[in-house]
Amino acid sequence: MTGLTKQDFSSDQETRWCPGCGDYAVLAAVQGLMPELGIPPHRVVFVSGIGCAGRFAYYMDTYGMHGIHGRAPALATGLAAARGDLSIWVITGDGDALSIGGNHLIHALRRNVPLKILMFNNQIYGLTKGQASPTSERGKVTKSTPFGAHDAPFNPLALVLGAGATFAARTIDRDRVHMTAVLRAAAEHRGAAFVEIYQNCPVFNDGAFAPLTDKQQAVFNRIPLEHGEPVRFGPDSEHGVVRAPDGRLVVGAGDDPAIVVHDAHRDDPAQAFALARLADSPSDPTAIGVFRAVERPVGIAEAGAKLAEARGSLEPGALHDLLHAGDTWTVAG
């Protein structure tokens, strides 16, 4: 242990989220996890976008940058390219990450930039007071969709797996233990880690995740993924995810021989993708946990290392030689 405490990671800024906001729970979990990771606050950076979630960075007593809307992954990528010695976390919302920031997100994942990207998914625009987000379900009535949203939502995990994410996970604001475990796994991943956090917005989208958080319903709807374990759920694991003869993954009996065994380290993301697509919205049984965690080259880090190396070994005369490279001629005075 490191002797670090939660307080070492808590800034003096008064938290300004609405009472009951799920963001508080995430903040508590992250501040609680940090000391365990054994990284001193001054080596940790939180880069956030704009949104309620984005305020997160101000509450961590680490280095932090509250960027502009949707661009946090780009800002963080530049930081990672310049510095291989930091633990860099990106805090973003469903609108910040998937609407305006979609391109930077998929490219940061494609590049496997060593960032821990936490997406607070409340399926709504909180900060701007209640417009539809790319994860709002079809038909949802919001300020910007008074007659109901007519577009299908993204399935964030399906999207990031399609983009080649080497680490993809989902957890829930209300489950501190599960969230902490998932965040720890993300922290330990070598490359880019994407974590979708179902986060309740009591003001503009209250209860969006009730099926997964409400005591009664949760046991029937949460499908916990454990690497190497058969995918079972229900009070007595009586349900399970099984592979139908035609290859599809469907919910079946917990003791079905065709039950799927979860393999998070599998190179082929197809099964993780299928698990992600089990439910497009958390109203149906929904898988949570680490969907994928595979080792891949971390290009930017490697290049970053080369960079440091090159700087280190720069001869005094290097600049002079560079300026004089190629054909030169001298005019006598």
């Binding site: 606050p41 950076v45 600049l319 054909d327």
Partner: protein, 609 residues
């Protein structure tokens, strides 16, 4: 027969042919020989527009112009004295520029019916007398090259076919008595392991040279003596792109900050990305971002981490970086944004030059977000300009926009290599552990501390919301906002104190000041030289800092009766001066996608004298 030899002070040659004809190569070789010969020179390549056009068409013409002289010269020149035309399309598209009674050296083999049609000629211009006003030299270069290389064991007909540019080079090299050694050296090195091309190119080059010497077609040889009035020192040839890259690397090495360039490819700025990507060994890190927004964001993120963050682009990309540059203004972090201007609006003419992004650089951000703007003036000066941009960015913790343009990026000239050790210092002055620290406290220059992640005890948060003076906490207080707005503006305005007074080159009694910025420098000085030769008094001055402006500029403007600002736009900088100094500045704007010509400026000046 004995050829007569004539003297010339300055000569302009333009090599023109199809994109496939290797004109850039021929031109570059001629340039190196010219450098070795000791002339001063300036060159300007011109490439076909974006997409490869079908061979032989006007759209496919590629050209390389070189201006060389026995004295120091300032531009690649307006009207060529000699046009080398490898095919009808080249002749047709370039002839317009040729000086009256200029020389045309044409590869007559290429003037076939098919090629003439492709170029849109009904009749063969080599025969229909349409070139009577010029001195026409017809040479069957293709066949002579073939003959020169036939029976060489390694040389394929393909090799021979592709060597005719070296034949042309040989002819022109003889015509201006260039040393042959550098070219032969180059051929040997380049094709060391390709015997076919090696023999073909050598043979073609020599054949061309000998043709000049022996053929009656070419009856004069010109001598252009080495330039004697150039400052002493070691020179190399650079274009604006290379000079910019070297300037950035120099700033990186001198400041001890690793250089991180994040860019998204765009013509003509891509070249800088390519150039810097090769210098990993100097601790340069380049990232090809997914778009310009990300590129600016990555450079800014790298700056937060303590690197020299740079992003380079052209007009459309500058538009996209706007919001992120505004964030850098609020964060007060060093960031160098390079805009290699091209002709707009929108996609415009990506392969043509212009200076029309100035107002966008000065004002193209919402809110009050002032930042320094610097403009490079010559290919070689790009080194200094890039270095200065980095120095200001780091010293003042601010984004800086460096304006270059397509002409500067591609044009080459001899460059007096500076002494690496004598470059002005750049001190990152990172905040140190233990020191008292507030993120938005300020030093005497108004700069805030640069406390980089990894520094124990200095954890802090910054962001784009308005910040409280000194503490850097979020603040929605009106009075604080007014104060911070004033502080940001004063910091930038204060840079003036760092700037040298404006150099004015004024004849006694000069009433007209010609004030330039950016790549018009050479043309303005050349024009002034000419009107002075005509006996007029005139003054010139050139600005490298466009914001803030040199402290004595207002006083300088008021010293003259008239002020003329020539620029490749509709008068953008003129309007800046008018607003600032209420001086009735006149503007000469040329917007034809080409650099300003000394000749047109001479005309403009004469009119005003």
């Amino acid at each position: 027969m004995r050829v007569q030899v004539k003297e010339r002070r300055r000569v302009i040659v333009r090599f023109a042919g199809d994109s496939g004809d290797g004109m850039q190569l021929a031109g570059s070789r001629f340039m190196d020989a010219t450098a070795e010969h000791g002339n001063d020179f300036a060159t300007l390549p011109s490439f076909p527009a974006e997409i490869r056009a079908p061979a032989g068409t006007l759209a496919g013409v590629s050209a390389f112009q070189i201006h060389f002289a026995a004295q120091d010269i300032l531009t690649p020149g307006d009207e060529p004295d000699v046009l080398v035309a490898m095919n009808p399309a080249a002749l047709r598209s370039e002839l317009g520029a040729l000086a009256r009674r200029g020389t045309v050296i044409a590869n007559e083999d290429a003037f076939t019916k098919r090629n003439l049609e492709k170029a849109g000629y009904d009749a063969n211009p080599l025969e229909d007398g349409s070139l009577d006003g010029f001195h026409l030299i017809r040479i069957p270069m293709t066949s002579l090259t073939a003959r020169a290389t036939e029976a060489m064991e390694h040389v394929s007909t393909r090799d021979a076919g592709r060597a005719k540019n070296l034949f042309a080079l040989g002819v022109v090299s003889w015509l201006y008595d260039r040393p042959t050694a550098p070219t032969e050296r180059w051929i040997r090195a380049k094709f060391a392991d390709k015997p076919g091309p090696l023999e073909a190119n050598l043979a073609a080059f020599r054949a061309g040279w000998n043709f000049g010497e022996t053929s009656e077609l070419v009856d004069v040889q010109y001598r252009v003596d080495p330039a004697t009035d150039v400052p002493a020192g070691t020179y190399r040839n650079v274009n604006g792109t290379t000079a910019t890259a070297l300037g950035l690397i120099a700033a990186s090495v001198r400041s001890g900050l690793p250089l991180v360039l994040a860019s998204y490819p765009i013509t003509p700025a891509s070249e800088l990305l390519h150039e810097l990507a090769r210098h990993q060994d100097m601790g340069v890190r380049t990232i090809q971002a997914e778009d310009e927004i990300a590129a600016a964001g990555m450079a800014l993120g790298a700056a937060f981490g303590g690197a020299l963050g740079v992003t380079a682009t052209s007009g459309p990309g500058l538009d996209l970086k706007t919001e992120t540059i505004g964030l850098a203004v609020a964060l007060e972090l060093p960031l160098v944004v390079i805009d290699v201007q091209r002709a707009g609006p929108s996609t415009g003419m990506p392969t043509k030059t212009e200076q029309s992004d100035l107002l966008a650089a000065l004002h193209g951000r919402h809110g009050e977000s002032p930042l320094p703007v610097i403009a490079a003036s010559t290919p070689g000066q790009c080194f200094e300009a890039a270095y200065e941009a980095a120095r200001i960015a780091v010293t003042y913790r601010t984004p800086v926009i460096l304006l270059s343009d397509l002409f500067l990026a591609n044009s080459s000239e001899p460059w007096l290599i500076p002494d690496a050790g004598a470059l002005p210092p750049i001190d990152p002055a990172f905040a140190q552990p233990g020191e008292p620290f507030s993120p938005y406290a300020r030093d005497e220059k108004g700069a805030r501390p640069w406390a980089i992640p990894g520094t124990p005890g200095l954890t802090h948060r910054i962001g784009g919301l308005e910040t409280e003076d000194v503490t850097g906490d979020i603040s929605y207080d009106g009075a604080n906002h007014a104060r911070m707005t004033a502080i940001r503006a004063a910091k930038i305005a204060g840079i003036t104190a760092d700037l040298p007074r404006l150099e004015v080159d004024a004849d006694p009694g000069a009433e007209l000041l010609v004030l330039g910025w950016g790549s018009s420098r050479g043309a303005i000085r050349a024009a002034a030289r000419r009107v002075r030769a005509n006996g007029h008094a005139v003054a010139t001055a050139h600005l490298h800092h466009l914001h803030p402006l040199p402290f004595d500029l207002g006083e300088v403007l008021h010293r003259f009766e008239r002020v003329l600002v020539p620029e490749m736009n509709s008068g953008q900088f003129a309007s800046v001066l008018r607003a600032r100094f209420l001086v009735d500045v006149e503007s000469y704007g040329a917007m034809e996608g080409r650099p300003l010509y000394a000749a047109e400026l001479e005309r403009e000046l004469e009119e005003r004298l």
